[in-house]
Symmetry: C2
Subunit: 242 residues, 2 copies
Amino acid sequence: MTKPSSDNLDLEALGRDLKMSDTGQARTKETRNRIIEGAESLFAHRSYSTVSMREITAEAGVGLAAVNYHFGSKEGLFKAVFLRRARDLNRERAQLLEAADKRANGGVVPLREVLTALLRPGIRWSFDTGGRGLFIQFLTRSRLDHSSPLHEIFYNDVGHLRRFIPYFLRVLPELGEDEILWRLHFTLGALHYTITDLKRLERISEGLCDISQFEPTLERIVSFAEAGFRTAAPVRWAAGDP
Amino acid sequence: MTKPSSDNLDLEALGRDLKMSDTGQARTKETRNRIIEGAESLFAHRSYSTVSMREITAEAGVGLAAVNYHFGSKEGLFKAVFLRRARDLNRERAQLLEAADKRANGGVVPLREVLTALLRPGIRWSFDTGGRGLFIQFLTRSRLDHSSPLHEIFYNDVGHLRRFIPYFLRVLPELGEDEILWRLHFTLGALHYTITDLKRLERISEGLCDISQFEPTLERIVSFAEAGFRTAAPVRWAAGDP
DNA sequence: CCAAAATTCGTACGACCGTTCCAATATTTC
DNA sequence: GAAATATTGGAACGGTCGTACGAATTTTGG
């Protein structure tokens, strides 16, 4: 009757949840995973509140009560779907940034490499046909859904962004930090819109734009963002200027 | 018992709906508007499925059945909220573009003016404290909500975008149409992300970025997009090049 | 001013929601 | 192998949802 809980929400809680069943219940983890995967697939296409637990459990082929047993509640399941992959995504970004840092060998990391480290993992995952592609859809959709239990998390999940800011400041020293943040904001907009709405581009362009290939898409968005970052800062009207 | 309907969804149906009550029922239009405004305000902050009709009618100070009487269903009300302002927004964009065209006097409209015509109305509205600000939030939120009855509309509402493409092609003749569309896509991403998540920028920047002023925000996003549009096109690997 | 139509209001209905309980079954532990 | 525990499956609960209905009330039109 005692239920495994997943109330904690910091990313580190994932590890605890995973080793929760290290005594070897093969069937238990099987059920858990089937539920998570069914939920991920459904949440990828529709919002939190419109996906019912009956749909999820039917998709996973388990009983209705299994969700509450394994995850405590629908909200707990949602968080579990998030936690399973979120760490990996941010870790990939951090690793790319670190690698670029090593390559620079103490020098300044080129702007294009900073942007690539930021944008590549999300774009890459969104091109996956498997679970990671679904997860990216799940993530970008839920970010804007104020009814989702993760809304606060997303708003506060700024740590992995802050890690990039020193790199931008170093490679674009003529820009102030506020200007960097504005442009980072626009860049993330292009990223998220591209991920969630690539199909719309295909429709608008009537097949003219090839959205099927990963590398050219990444190149395009990186080029766009790089140019945006390199443009001159707007004049400030604060001080007494001619 | 005969109910006014609003089943039709093309933008032109708005006019008919508005003059539906031109025989002078002051009270009727009052109720209709109160419901629409209450719904607009609630849909601006939360998704379609999480806002109940009981909340809407309570907010508007009318009976529960009033919605079904005036709009047929919850979905009909949602469409009415959309229709009331959507035409105005696209018309504003078209007018700005036309004005820039006149100013160019037969010549090429500068890129910056094309982008301003595209971006200004949305940003402008989103800074409104009244209903138009709420509407912009409603619009950008619902666009990504696949459970919303308007999802198909948004996907097909590409007419007002197509109008801009010839202007981009003329001012950037070295770019192909596909490349234009990619960059237009990224630009819309920056726009929508800015509109929906300006609060997040404020949080990330810890107050460093001033998000309270309209003109500087517009200038920033236009500059960012302009630079992105002006960057060189990626090399094509198709033809036999050195 | 009066019949007719339009509109408002309170209420009830059937459907679906997330959750809970409990018996049945599988698994672990000694 | 038996006792204890973990997991599953079915049924039911209270609650909320969008909608429909009928009576009361207001407004319209002659």
